[in-house]
């Protein structure tokens, strides 16, 4: 069998599966499945005069049969082909199995009349079948290439690929969330089944799609295929916005568009991953050769320098804790607008504090390899300009939080700025090896900002969130300090490894890790969290202790880096699990309530 034939089959399979999903949405929205109570042939209804509803239900089943034939042919073809790589082979072989499961679920829905209960599962399975067709299609269209990229270019390419995959994943959640409106009773919305409501899921897809497009513009702007693909995903996402206005009963009409977005986002992720980064611009732009990745290696612009002063990578984790705290309050899920404004205010506050820190730390940064290329020590931005920039952002953050959230949130945020920029940077960092312990309080304030932005007051649970981040800080930053010990010694910063040595630091990392894990289990005791959180925090904590133990026992670079990277993941996952626990389990009508 030629690859052309395989490509044709996969393309036809993709389109047929998309047609199946779209028609399934129609069936759901029109409730036509009940017009065909027998499966698969709908024989009773065929005896009577045909109504439009029967036509819709029958057409869906015919399309299912057609898609299954095409999917099976694709699987047989790839089975007999020795050349196909795993991105083509594995999905195509899995597709018929998934298709059969889908048919069984469909039959069960009709036979047992479990339309509402099984619809989300049915759509989820159908989206997987579509993925099993689209991924090989994209992989066949864009053969994999082997290329060696330099450190920075590889990092940028990896970030782009990661963003594209995250976007694809989020579009899948969005498709299910949008359709779930149609399948559940009005009192039980998608939010009780998914860790996201439709508005939240759409906002998340929008952010990720915009992020993918932005990153594409940064590093692959000469590659028009990718750029157009990323733009297409963003436009399709925007086209989904009006679908939020559909009534729950009519939400099935949205399924076709959501599935298309899912397919396009998946195809973009596969192509982004496999397309060579060093595509010559000459291929796309009138004969002007310009390696796309050169964009990533060019000297930083002034805008990028100012952006880097805000330490966006550090802020990302802070904003995760802020956003998560907003969903944990007793006030219930906040509005999307409130979340957005709190994020804007939070970014401005943390960015402002970071810029002030860069201004004050010029001398220290100069003596450290990790920081010597920052805009202030390298002289691209003056100390005074950085300070002015930081103060402006800080003032803006206060205004934003004061106007759009609550006075207490603005106060907490201002406290955080002062704590980090002055108490930590100017005093603690230079004078005590407890700098990251006590200074950790600055990084622990964002959950308080998120909490108070929703409720306007503090509570014990909010303080516990603060304490979790507070106790998380020493193991995380001491792991980094162990690796960069020489840098800190040269800069005259009394970090614990410099003052007390690596062994003492490793020991204290172990002790603080135990305290952190113990503290993370307190929230369920006061009823703020449930079983899901308790079980997840226990598992995540056990892994954390394993890494901390490895640092204590071995103390090699691998174990230290392992702890450092896992601690980042740990904090993000812990807060994510809190939200899942809160959204899925705790509220009346939550998943557990409905199961018991």
């Amino acid at each position: 069998m030629s690859s052309t034939r395989l490509r044709t089959l996969v393309r036809a399979g993709s389109l047929a599966t998309l047609a199946v999903i779209s028609s399934g949405g129609l069936v759901s929205a029109t409730n036509s499945a009940s017009s065909c109570p027998t499966w698969p042939l709908c024989t009773e209804s065929l005896m009577a005069p045909m109504t439009p509803l029967v036509w819709v239900a029958l057409a869906h089943r015919v399309l299912v049969l057609l898609a299954l034939v095409l999917v099976t042919l694709g699987a047989v073809t790839v089975w007999r082909s020795a050349e196909a790589d795993r991105w083509v082979r594995l999905p195509l072989l899995a597709a018929p199995l998934l298709g059969l499961i889908q048919m069984a679920v469909g039959a069960m829905m009709v036979a047992l009349q479990l339309y509402a209960a099984a619809n989300v599962t049915h759509l989820g399975g159908a989206l997987l079948v579509l993925a099993c067709q689209v991924v090989p299609w994209a992989a066949l269209a864009q053969p994999a290439t082997i290329e060696r990229l330099g450190g920075r270019a590889a990092r940028e390419a990896g970030r782009l690929t990661g963003l594209a995959w995250w976007t694809a994943g989020a579009t899948g959640v969005l498709a299910v969330a949008l359709s779930a409106q149609a399948t559940l009773t009005p009192t039980v919305l998608a939010a009780t089944l998914l860790p996201a409501n439709t508005g939240g899921a759409l906002a998340m897809v929008g952010l990720l799609a915009a992020g993918t497009l932005g990153q594409m513009w940064r590093v692959r702007r000469d590659d028009r295929v990718l750029l157009m693909g990323a733009l297409g995903v963003l436009l399709l996402t925007i086209a989904e916005v009006p679908l939020l206005l559909l009534t729950p009963a009519a939400a099935g009409f949205s399924v076709g568009l959501s599935a298309t977005l899912w397919g396009v986002a998946l195809a973009l992720a596969v192509v982004t991953m496999r397309r060579p980064a060093m595509v010559l611009a000459a291929e796309h732009i009138q004969g002007v050769p310009a390696p796309a990745m050169a964009q990533a290696a060019r000297p930083p612009s002034l805008v990028r320098d100012y952006l880097s002063l805000t330490k966006p990578k550090v802020i990302a984790l802070l904003l995760v804790t802020t956003a998560a705290a907003m969903y944990l309050t007793e006030a219930g899920p906040p509005s999307l607008g409130l979340v957005c404004w709190t994020m804007v205010g939070g970014y401005l506050a943390a960015g402002g504090a970071g810029a002030i820190n860069c201004a004050f730390d010029r001398e220290i940064d100069l003596n450290m390899g990790r920081t010597s290329r920052r805009p202030v020590p390298s002289g691209r931005i003056s100390q005074r300009a950085a300070l002015r920039f930081g103060l402006t952002l800080s003032a803006l953050s206060v205004v934003v939080l004061l106007v759009f959230t609550t006075p207490l949130a603005a106060f907490c945020s201002t406290l955080g700025i002062g704590y980090y920029a002055w108490i930590y940077t100017q005093w603690l960092k230079r004078s005590t090896w407890q700098n990251v312990v006590i200074g950790g309080g600055a990084g622990a304030i964002p959950p308080l900002v998120g909490w108070t932005a929703v409720t306007g007051h503090l509570s014990l649970a909010a303080v516990l969130l603060f304490a979790i981040v507070f106790y998380w800080t020493p193991p995380h930053f001491w792991a980094l300090a162990l690796v960069k010990q020489q840098d800190y010694a040269r800069a005259g910063v009394p970090m614990l490894p410099v003052v007390a040595g690596a062994t003492e630091t490793r020991w204290q990392i172990l002790v603080y890790s135990a305290l952190l894990v113990a503290l993370s289990l307190v929230l369920p005791l006061i009823g703020a969290m449930g079983w899901v959180y308790f079980a997840s925090a226990s598992v995540l904590g056990a892994i954390f202790m394993r890494y901390a133990w490895a640092v204590w026992r071995k103390g090699d670079q691998a174990s230290i880096w392992g702890l450092y990277t896992y601690s980042l993941l740990y904090l993000a996952l812990l807060f994510a699990v809190m939200v899942i626990d809160r959204v899925v389990v705790i509220p009346p009508g939550g998943l557990l309530d409905r199961l018991t």
């Binding site: 005590t432 090896w433 010694a489 970090m495 204290q508 305290l515 308790f534 389990v585 705790i586």
Partner: protein, 81 residues
């Protein structure tokens, strides 16, 4: 109260867990205070140009952290009973 359930046995689990956490904290903070005290002495032997902390202040910071965490756990206890 922990959302484990409503029966007395599971409430006992909550209390047991709480006191276990308290024990971890008391033990952990004791070790940290001991470390700070030990480092206070050893810092005196560091070369004068080496980065160093202020021994008494380090002990004070450690004690302050322990006391504040103790207050937090006391508040948890009040919420629990």
């Amino acid at each position: 109260m922990l959302n484990f359930g409503r029966c007395a046995k599971l409430c006992m689990v909550s209390y047991g867990l709480f006191w276990l956490i308290v024990a971890v904290f008391v033990g952990g903070q004791a070790l940290l205070v001991r470390s700070a005290w030990r480092l206070r002495k050893s810092e005196l032997s560091l070369p004068t140009d080496a980065p160093r902390g202020h021994g008494d202040a380090e002990v004070a910071w450690t004690l302050a952290t322990a006391v504040l965490t103790g207050v937090l756990l006391y508040c948890v206890y009040l919420a629990l009973i």
